[in-house]
């Protein structure tokens, strides 16, 4: 039997269509269809200048906007060989790690819904809201921040940032523990996710799977540690790694990652000092002729930007290597021989954002 799921389906986390071929209750073949949200972002980048493009990158991964902005700005900085001031790096790191927590909290909440638990989404969104309120105080916007600039950040932190962060870190610590206690070891949750949708390390690498999905499969790969960028080499933090590569591992790697992010934020807050927040750059950036490929670790995995410049004020070509795009490819592998009832659980565990899949 052929079963069509989506593009309008609440569990597809966006506009995504999945066609399943079933034999009884088993899935024998799955065919994903994407492109419903294709806006041609890469092409649009070719006619905007470097500051304008930041707004386009905001809209790629729309639950981890700052991480996307950072990747593009770093690619331009790499071409221009810009030295970004210390304070700017600390601000970027703190905000991006907070964004990672916000993103994983959204995953936590909606993954609860995917497996049929109504409560986690309320807790997940409560914690996410705390982070978003802080973002609003810093950047002026809840989601589409447009805050990170080529060479630094837009403006300095508000005066009460330190005070707010002390409160926020405590609240998030408690929040993460609460969320963990609520869902992780629940008998029903374990039944639904343990041993479901497994993928092994080499296969995952072959598919180009990165981020928490890859680490859940037992491969210790995190760009922040393997190819440290910015100031990540100054912090002491661990990489949570799974063993079975099943849905539960993918879920729990993310929960642990939130704790690690909090630890990075705490360390960064204690190290941060006053100073300039932008490098000396011309108002209109003109990187030299050349090409740069840059990898960053976004909440979903290896977010790469391939930037080709012809020396003008607009890039010649921008290619976005979106982690969700590669992660979603593996869905055909994950769904093969799974039960139809697990399809939503498996799809949810990949934590895709269609904004960056379709670009």
């Amino acid at each position: 039997m052929m079963l069509n799921m989506g593009p309008q389906h609440p569990s597809t986390h966006g506009v995504f269509r999945l066609v399943l071929w079933l034999e009884g209750e088993r899935i024998v073949r799955a065919e994903p269809h994407i492109g419903y949200l294709h806006r041609g972002s890469e092409k649009l980048c070719e006619r905007e200048d470097y500051t304008q493009i930041i707004t386009l990158f905001d809209r790629l991964d729309y639950v981890a906007n700052l991480n996307c902005e950072l990747a593009f700005c770093m690619a331009a900085e790499k071409l221009m060989a810009l030295e970004v001031p210390e304070r700017a790096w600390y601000i970027r790191t703190i905000l991006c790690e907070l964004n990672r927590i916000a993103s994983h909290m959204l995953f936590y909440g909606v993954y609860g819904l995917d497996v049929g638990a109504m409560t986690p989404v309320l807790y997940g969104f409560r914690e996410r809201e705390r982070v978003i309120l802080l973002f609003e105080a810093v950047t002026g916007a809840r989601m589409m921040h447009n805050y990170i600039r080529v060479g630094g950040v837009k403006e300095d932190l508000p005066d009460d940032f330190g005070k707010r962060m002390t409160v926020l870190i405590d609240e998030l610590k408690r929040g993460i523990d609460e969320c963990d206690a609520l869902l992780t070891n629940s008998e029903l949750f374990l039944e639904r996710t343990k041993g479901v949708g497994t993928i092994d390390g080499p296969t995952a690498v072959d598919y180009g799977v990165t981020g928490p999905m890859l680490r859940a499969a037992g491969v210790k790969e995190d760009v922040r540690i393997s190819e440290p960028y910015g100031i990540y080499d100054r912090f002491d933090f661990g990489i949570p790694v799974g063993t079975h590569g099943d849905c539960w591992d993918r879920y729990y790697v993310r929960v642990e990652e939130m704790r690690q992010s909090l630890s990075i934020i705490e360390q960064a807050m204690s190290q941060m000092e006053a100073g300039p927040i932008t490098a000396k750059v011309r108002r209109i950036a003109r990187p030299p002729r050349g090409e740069a490929y840059l990898r960053t670790e976004s909440p979903r995995g290896d977010f790469g930007v391939f930037l080709v410049s012809d020396g003008g004020d607009k890039p010649y070509r921008v290619k976005v290597r979106a982690p969700s795009f590669a992660n979603l490819q593996s869905i055909t592998h994950l769904l093969r021989d799974a039960y139809i009832a697990d399809a939503v659980v498996i799809l949810g565990s990949t934590d895709i954002i269609l904004g960056e899949v379709d670009r």
């Binding site: 492109g35 030299p288 990898r295 290896d302 391939f306 490819q329």
Partner: protein
């Protein structure tokens, strides 16, 4: 105020859409410096031995080792890059197509999880008959990147099992990634 919609005056012939230059011409700009790290230097010494069977032009772009190969060799070069124990490029970072004035360039960004080095394989194909052999048999992850390249740039990846549109809808005409594909025009102010 005249309302053209109700007048009996025959419609004026539409003005031709302004022709935008397909490729921007920029003044001579400086070039980004090449800076290979230790692994990159070691790799650039190793590559000529590993790829001795092929006709390859070596170079570097910033921190990446570049190997320009003939389009027909792409699949074989990639297979060697993955299966040679000294290289073991098991992770395909991305496949990106760039539209230059006189050619389309297909870039394969590779990374080795084990050896921790990286490189780019480049193949240039002409605009009118762009085709390279598929590497979807080498890395399974190449599948969608190639479909995307076919969608947006019209590059034919020969031997790919499924070349249906991925990001665009069925029946879309043209290749919107190319520089010759116009943007939606509006008056600048």
């Amino acid at each position: 105020m005249s309302d053209e919609r109700v007048s009996n005056v025959p419609e004026k012939p539409k003005a031709e859409a302004p022709v935008r230059p397909a490729h921007r011409k920029e003044p001579e700009a400086p070039t980004a410096p090449v800076a290979l790290d230790e692994r990159g230097t070691a790799l650039s010494e190793l590559l000529p031995k590993a790829f001795s069977r092929f006709e390859v032009e070596y170079g570097a772009a910033m921190d990446e080792v570049v190997a320009k190969v003939k389009p027909a060799d792409v699949a074989e070069v990639c297979r060697t890059a993955k299966e040679d124990g000294r290289l073991s490029f098991d992770y395909l970072r991305s496949i990106s197509v760039v539209d230059y004035v006189e050619r389309l360039e297909v870039n394969y960004h590779l990374f080795s999880m084990d050896k921790r080095h990286k490189m780019v394989i480049k193949a240039s194909v002409p605009h009118d008959s762009p085709s390279v052999p598929t590497v979807s048999g080498v890395w399974r992850g190449a599948d969608w990147y190639e479909r995307e390249g076919h969608d947006l740039f019209g590059v034919v990846f020969e031997g790919h099992p499924d070349m249906r549109p991925l990001l665009l809808y069925e029946g879309f005409e043209g290749h919107p990634g190319r520089k010759s594909f116009p943007f939606h025009e509006y008056d600048e102010w």
